[in-house]
Symmetry: C3
Subunit: 345 residues, 3 copies
């Protein structure tokens, strides 16, 4: 049901500090904290003794003391002390998870630890590029299947309807192209030689009409990059020269909590008005307003699927990329489960 | 579990307008609205694409536009537009339901559409008779099995206890007669030559003692007519001459929502003080207060049955009609399910 | 799952009066009241007719009248009247339960009534001893398995952690001894020739160091006596002479409501400051504050076990008595179920 051997955001970098943070990821209760040397740590959120949540305990000197009977656990999940006795019972250690701080997110590896290769963390390069500025890095919680996020983002035809009063200016009729590659699928929509959208004209003065793009790239397990921008028409944006306009980049990642709920990690960056902190704030508010509509839609669709299990959905032309992404996820899970190395208990 | 080939109230006439109204009837999510020409419409509350509820969409020119990806549906459930393409995918239509405006209620036919004969709608004749005035037409929501409504109304012995402080004056010991006919059962209680109940003396000046009647008639699927009145004693009420007193008529109909909940449609009419609008208001308030006691009782009995599935209820003499009604419902359902024509998917 | 042939507290004596009190015990809904002669009564909380809860009815002259159709039940559960008829239908009686007022609690026997021997009620002797004073008799409701109460109380190592800021002064490292006897298990901890705990020095002036004891005795079905005290060191407390100090006695009893919840009856008595009512009040407040920590812990452990059914808990040295108590409960249930006389339906 979930792909395990991959990196998921567990928290934003900002959420993690020298305190205990409880999360549930792929059904597993996990406690996260930052060591005194700032290194992030994630271990099972369960005292091996009576299953009291470790996240309710105390953290001192990088050691979690269970609040119930005082068993102590270090950053590796090892039980290092049982009050009232000198030996540590067999099986007292709990699981630890590889984690990595990167791109403003705290990534966790839910599969076989020795396969946790940090180079596999998705590339959110705009987050540390000098010509880009991050407008927001947020976490939203959605009561729905995690696969609905790709479904939502890969079908831009919903913008004209669901976001009518927020993003609004889009037209559902503009065709888009779908391109399949090894571990992903990409949807591209170009609007050539048209007036810029109001949201863009407020941010940049164009010479006249623009060439405008929306490029959504899905990658396993459930990562969607949204690449938006407009350039003065005819200046070569479609061939790669984006210097005559402005761009936005949004990363959208779903981390499944349990069956029917996920954390939606959402970031937004821009390559203009880099020093304008007020703009970051406004952008964040606008994005959160529009995304609240997506969240509500995903939750309603989730309920709808649950209520009508006897019915079969129909698909439209715009669903090609979304269906392809679903199949990729299904195949990757199936493949992982048939070949998977044993996960430590 | 439910009788399908019959008319159920889905809403009061007043509830329905040029806006989308979501209901769940016999487990099925349904969206209702009134067309520009005032005709009522009921279709499945599910976009065939991603199962987003159509009731969250927009209604314009008698067309529902799904708020998610903009698919459009007409009053017949036909999908008439898919943004971004010219053809309509196979299977995009959703189900529509026959509906009829009658007696101040909006009736829906949940069975095979071609059998939807409007002459089968229960006869609530007091609702448009010139010598009668409607005091109320209401909808209450009950967390209980829909069959508990007939159980409640066909056993008048509960009035003295459950409604002790509201209707009050009743005596449980007065015997009643039960009469079975083809598609129903009737309970009749006559109290001859006794003082009128306070509730009646306030409304009419009797010459002295009265003959008083309570006649409850159950009809399939779950319709109960309550016929109450008092006439001067000896003026022939028992033989059909009701001209020397006053009458009230209440219709009580249960529309199952899903297992364990139903809409309770309740109307009340009278043949006196026809011009007294204030009296309508007072009557409605009094009825709603008493009926709230019935609703609470039905909900508690529903919980009781659920908690004690291993126990068998006992029956009293007063239960004859209620048990008969239960059997009629059970037989009608069994009969319908064994002979039923296929319902469209 | 539950031991039936034993006495459980159903209420505190104070809770019970000339009114109807609804409880659920070992899954069974029960209604309790005190007769005009003060005798306690417990019968099934279900009218045999339509399963309306009798606890919602009226109590008058020791008779419960069902609020729905007026059936009447006496203290033995016998149906003594059905309105509208002279005979009582077969099977109209409901079950009654043996009850006994003792030690400030109302005890109920959930098994075969003829085995209800009042001498089997646990001995809470401090509750009516002239040299003792009761500080509190309370009922708490816990969302957890009833067996967690013995688990909690028999492992004193939790005091130093869970009650760090309330009871606090305990040290987890002090060894304790476990003694098994016929229907129970006892944990004893002696601290010899040490300063008295602050909580004790405030209550009594010791000559210097003290000998201090904590003795927890578990008895079936789920009764734990906690015996705490301190005496001037070397005055013979360990050999039974407790006259040179002070003692506290707490009784802790779990009455299962249903799977995953129980009533926690908790009493506290002392053999000092007998006339100090203010001290009773303060003691009660302190105990309730500390016990709220136990309740939270039991609820979290209950959740933890439910969430991790695939994992196996480890045990520490301090768990010996708790594990023994668990086995005793399991064996007693198994034994009762294989030999049990039939319980009346």
């Amino acid at each position: 049901m979930y792909l395990r051997n991959c990196w998921y955001p567990a928290a934003t970098t900002e959420e993690l500090g020298p305190h205990l943070l409880a999360r549930r990821i792929l059904e597993e209760p996990i406690v996260l904290f930052r060591k005194e040397n700032k290194q992030p740590v994630a271990i099972e959120d369960r005292c091996s003794h009576r299953f009291y949540p470790l996240s309710k305990g105390d953290l001192q000197n990088d050691i979690i003391t269970c609040r119930y009977h005082g068993l102590e656990f270090d950053f590796s999940g090892a039980c290092v002390r049982v009050p009232g006795q000198t030996n540590i019972p067999l099986g007292a250690n709990v699981r630890s998870y590889p984690v990595a701080d990167k791109w403003g997110l705290l990534w966790i590896w839910m599969g076989e630890p020795r396969n946790a290769d940090e180079t596999l963390i998705p590339n959110l390069w705009t987050h540390d590029h000098p010509e880009w500025r991050i407008s927001m890095i947020d976490r939203l919680d959605v009561d729905g299947d995690y696969r609905l996020l790709a479904d939502n983002l890969l079908d831009p035809s919903h913008v004209a309807f669901l976001h009518k009063t927020t993003l609004g200016s889009d037209v559902a009729e503009i065709p888009h192209e779908t391109e399949v590659f090894d571990e992903g699928v990409r949807v591209t929509r170009w609007t050539i030689n048209k007036p810029a959208a109001p949201i863009f004209t407020r941010l940049h003065s164009f010479n006249g009409n623009v060439d405008r793009w929306q490029i959504m790239t899905f990658r396993l397990p459930n990562f969607v990059e949204v690449d938006l921008g407009s350039c003065d028409t005819g200046t070569g944006a479609q061939n790669g020269d984006r210097s005559h306009g402005i761009e936005m980049r949004s990363y959208n990642i779903a981390t499944p909590c349990k069956n029917g709920s996920f954390h939606y990690f959402l970031t937004h960056a821009r390559n203009y008005a880099l020093d304008n902190s007020e703009l970051s704030k406004i952008t964040r508010e606008q994005v959160l307003t529009a995304v609240a509509e997506d969240v509500e839609a995903m939750e309603l669709v989730h309920e709808g699927f649950a209520r009508h299990i006897d019915k079969k959905e129909i698909n439209t032309r715009a669903d090609g990329a979304g269906l392809r992404a679903r199949r990729m996820v299904a195949q990757a899970i199936e493949c992982e489960q048939s070949n998977a190395p044993a996960v430590p208990a």
